[in-house]
Symmetry: C2
Subunit: 160 residues, 2 copies
């Protein structure tokens, strides 16, 4: 078990991603319960089942288990009630702020029904840790439930 402390921002300009290599992530949700979301994710030849608890501020309990990719494909096809999320994730060091050394930006460029949406997340060590501010960083959306991936699978960006 872990506790996630994560903040999420819009990305205003994606020029900084040019020439970078991302990873394609395919994921779906088995549960949208307020108390828990259950996610299956495939990244190349690996897959995980992830349970996330209720979000409290920027904190969230998380349990993650590796599963066979063939299981993940069958689960996505058979059990994921709504849309599947398809996105490319870029990882960038976020070491520019005073206490930002070792931090990392995860920038998600969405495809399919969420095309046009680009979001950057940073996982912090404690809730009041300051966040580095690269010039491509836009509005914070940590507390906006529309940007939860589980919400985007039900109500994708193209339908906003």
């Amino acid at each position: 078990m872990g506790v996630e402390i994560e903040r999420k921002f819009l990305v205003t300009d994606t020029g900084f991603l040019e020439g970078r290599q991302g990873e394609r992530l395919i994921q779906g949700y088995l549960s949208h319960d307020r108390r828990a979301t259950v996610r299956v994710r495939i990244e190349d030849q690996r897959a995980w089942l992830t349970l996330k608890g209720e979000t409290r501020g920027a904190r969230r309990s998380e349990f993650e288990y590796p599963i066979p990719v063939d299981d993940a494909r069958a689960i996505l096809a058979e059990m994921c009630a709504e849309g599947v999320i398809d996105k490319t994730r870029y990882r960038l060091p976020a070491g520019s702020a005073t206490d930002g050394a070792g931090l990392e930006w995860e920038v998600d460029v969405f495809h399919g029904d969420n095309q046009g949406l680009v979001v950057a997340e940073i996982e912090l060590r404690h809730e009041d840790q300051s966040v580095p501010r690269p010039d491509w960083l836009g509005e914070e959306v940590t507390d906006d439930p529309r940007f939860y991936n589980s919400a985007l699978s039900r109500t994708p960006f193209c339908r906003w």
Copy 2:
């Protein structure tokens, strides 16, 4: 991945369980979606996360993964939206029918809010396999959704 072919019956008399050793099972549900239920179960010092697909007749897809017991306890406490199921499971050979050799009855004696309910399940190799009929076997309830454990966690027997 597996496919479960399971039939479920009420138990009319529990005298045959006397002197037998059962296992205590504690379980809860993270999702009651029509397409998938997500169950966490603790049995002594072992625990599993189990995904079950939509029931079609007696068939149901199932994926099961062992997880640490401490995770399971935290998931039950934090993420299982409704009641937790508490029951003692007895396993009995069901070898009396012609093609029943190697089959097994799982007899669940429920506690807590489901006290008074006793159910027997048998997992078959194919859907038309004949089921042995011990004299304690009552009405078949395979197709009655009230007897799904996920339903019993929401609407326990004491509230019927």
